[in-house]
């Protein structure tokens, strides 16, 4: 796509929009996992992990990505910030 199309008033061209939507939908198609089921998987992950460690439930991100041939499920799970216990006597 030419530079002209990408620059026109900062708005993406319909072809760019098409490409981005396709990339997203194909990631889900290829994994056989719909956005809904990915959301369910995220909730279950949060449940399981919370049993072992305190996490910041609202900041959890679970997504599918791909680079050429490799599909990847990426989970970013921040822990709840806690005051450091290091050095405290048990």
């Amino acid at each position: 796509m030419s530079l002209r199309n990408q620059l026109r008033f900062g708005r993406p061209s319909s072809a760019q929009t098409a490409k981005e939507r396709l990339k997203l939908v194909l990631v889900h198609d290829r994994a056989g996992l719909s956005p809904n089921r990915l959301e369910a998987l995220k909730d279950e992950l949060i449940d399981v992990i919370s049993r072992h460690i305190e996490i910041d439930k609202h900041s959890v991100r679970v997504s599918l990505t791909r680079d050429r041939n490799q599909q990847r499920l990426v989970a970013d799970i921040p822990l709840t910030p806690v005051p450091s216990r290091r050095g405290r006597p048990r």
């Binding site: 796509m1 072809a15 760019q16 490409k19 194909l26």
Partner: protein
């Protein structure tokens, strides 16, 4: 020497499988090769009308498979090209009348007498599709630069790989260079970036394709047709020739050439 089997498939219907099969077949035959096209879309036969042979059908694919006629009896010779034949689909049966093994057996029989066996696959991903790709040495996937067609092409590419028939080769059909320039149509690079597959050709949207099909003629035999030229180049690439990819707006007639001349003049 044994012929090659190429299956033309798409997933989505209406993207140009039948047109591509008829024209790649005609182009290969016009290069002096022996070609037979098989319409594997049982119940919805179309290749016969596109090739202009609908009035000559006596036997069909299912008759051959079920032993009611000899293979040669079901083959209809093209009106213009010497070594170009069609095996039509049955119109009154469904896809279960033929099995993938039947298609392999039939194709193997044809390999001895032909350089190319082209199979026009039905739309969809079910039995008919599996029948069509079972004997394939090469799977040609055809798509249009539209979200629905590209999505289905991706699904087909996955299935073709799962059946160990990959990697497929892609044709992007009905491309409108003007829309790509405006940013309103996915370009070749965009489609290839999304699908990650080898390209075998890009065919411009061209009214002459419909005009030729109206008459039951192959558009590749029309030397002035842009789409015809693109299909001729694809046929040569499939046959192993190294043909450079044509720039889409290279053949846009007098005004296109004039405007480019003016542009280059302005920049230089």
């Amino acid at each position: 020497m044994s012929g090659k089997v190429a299956t033309i498939t798409s997933g989505k219907g209406g993207v140009g499988k039948t047109t591509a099969t008829a024209n790649l077949g005609a182009a290969l035959a016009n290069m002096g090769l022996r070609v037979v096209c098989i319409d594997a879309d049982i119940g919805l036969r179309n290749l016969d009308v596109v090739m202009g042979l609908e009035n000559r059908i006596v036997y069909d694919l299912v008759d051959v498979v079920e032993g009611r006629c000899k293979l040669r009896q079901a083959m209809i010779r093209d009106k213009r090209l010497e070594e170009f034949y069609l095996i039509p689909a049955a119109q009154t049966r469904d896809k279960t009348a033929v099995s993938p093994q039947d298609m392999i057996r039939l194709s193997d029989e044809l390999r001895a007498d032909f350089d190319w066996i082209l199979i026009d696959s039905p739309a969809g991903i079910e039995r008919g599709f599996r029948n069509a790709i079972a004997p394939a040495d090469i799977v040609v996937i055809i798509t249009n630069p539209e979200v629905s067609a590209v999505r289905d092409a991706d699904r087909i590419i996955g299935l073709v790989e799962a059946e160990d028939k990959g990697p497929g080769k892609l044709i992007i059909n009905r491309v409108k260079p003007e829309m790509i320039k405006r940013g309103d149509m996915l370009g070749t690079d965009d489609v290839l970036d999304v699908l990650a597959i080898d390209l075998v050709g890009v065919v411009p949207d061209d009214e002459s394709v419909i005009v030729a099909a109206n008459k039951g003629l192959a558009v590749v035999l029309d030397p002035r047709s842009k789409a015809g030229g693109a299909f001729r180049n694809i046929a040569r690439r499939l046959n192993g020739e190294d043909v450079p990819f044509e720039a889409l707006d290279e053949h846009d007639g007098f005004f296109g050439r004039l405007s480019r001349l003016v542009k280059t003049g302005g920049e230089g």
